[in-house]
Amino acid sequence: MNEKQEAPERQDIEQLLPWHAAGTLSRRDAQRVEDALARDPELARRYALVRDELAETIHLNETLGAPSARAAEKLFAKIDAEPARRAAVSLNLGNRIADFFASLSPRTLAWSVSAAVFAILLQAGLIAGVLLQETKTTGYQTASAPTTDPGVGAFALIRFAPQASSDDVTKFLEANKLSIAAGPMAGGLYKVRIAVTGIPKGELARIVKKLQEDKVVSFIATAE
């Protein structure tokens, strides 16, 4: 790489050196600077100057001292003279939540979290139990016709139009006696059962072509 090509990149990196020294760059920029420093000795020398400036700026500021107690007295006298304020009602929800958690002691917070986790697990167990019970007693019902073997029948892969509502999709499935056998899969595809028994390829292609015309369908193709 010649110097003319390198100059703008070096200038760009050089401008970031003060923030790199202060540790306030994003991880990505910090890595860019680190890489440049590793391959450019002149830039590394200039970085040493930046670090000197940083150290002496901190030193200078630290020698400036602090305001006297008079400043605080003056401030709080002014605050006390201000009209009384109603408790703020416009605090945003995030602040209220943060305020609430900040007010809890670590022990209380730990117990609260444990109780919440237990409640969630209990609820998940109950829901799973109900679902398993339903599966055992009634089996999976399709929109077209009940079947006990999910691999039996004629199928198509379908992607619904993004603007189609769930109501539109339900009506479409019912009207065409289709049922969803699997999905959603990658690309928003669903596998739908067109018939509970195998049908000739020509007949399946004709049905798929007809379904393609519905505005609810964005893509459809026969599937094994």
């Binding site: 003060p18 306030t24 000197d52 940083l54 700026t57 400036l64 943060a98 670590p106």
Partner: protein, 186 residues
């Protein structure tokens, strides 16, 4: 140890919580004071301004939306107060200490020593920078503000923040050069 986040303190201040104000003051008054003092270069003025800055924080706490760090918001208020005070104050009111800092160009015994002590020279030169350059150097190096935060405090685009910092450092090198210290940059 668990500390209350600044944003929570400010929301309590918005509700009139004086204790929260005391905590916030204890947390930030030294930093804000030093920022203001470096701008106005007069301790009495800086002390007066600290009261004004925190009084504004008390009054405006309800408007703080938490989009930026609380310290960034407070330094913005402090900067506005300091620059307003500088505009009000005639040049001749600069105190002796400040005048000494500004006019320290001659080869005084102190300067002679500074030539030997690069660190001291660097600190002296930091005090000789313009207000604009001093504030950006302090915000970046001492107050640890990112490019975005400096842009917010100073009210300039991020690209300008970078170039202004570059020129502040360049000026620092020139001042050192005047003291006989060549950094070999720029």
């Amino acid at each position: 140890m668990q500390t209350t986040p600044d944003e929570v303190l400010i929301s309590r201040i918005a509700g009139g919580d004086r204790l929260a104000m005391q905590v916030l003051y204890a947390r930030y008054h030294v930093r804000v004071y030093r920022f203001v003092l470096r701008l106005v270069r007069n301790e009495a003025t800086a002390e007066d301004l600290i009261s004004e800055v925190f009084l504004d924080i008390w009054r405006q706490a309800g408007k703080f939306e938490g989009r930026s760090a609380a310290s960034t918001w407070m330094l913005s208020i402090a900067r506005f107060k300091a620059l307003s005070a500088l505009r009000r104050r005639p040049e001749e009111e600069l105190d002796d200490e400040t005048a000494g800092q500004i006019e320290d160009q001659a080869d005084t015994p102190e300067t002679a020593l500074a030539k030997k002590d690069k660190s001291l020279a660097l600190r002296q030169c930091l005090t000789k920078l313009s207000t604009e350059h001093r504030e950006i150097i302090d915000l970046v190096y001492y107050h640890e503000k990112s490019v975005e935060e400096v842009a917010e405090i100073v009210g300039i685009p991020e690209a300008t923040v970078k170039t202004r910092m570059f020129y502040a450092r360049k000026k620092l090198s020139e001042l050192l050069q005047e003291q006989g210290i060549d950094r070999g940059w720029p």
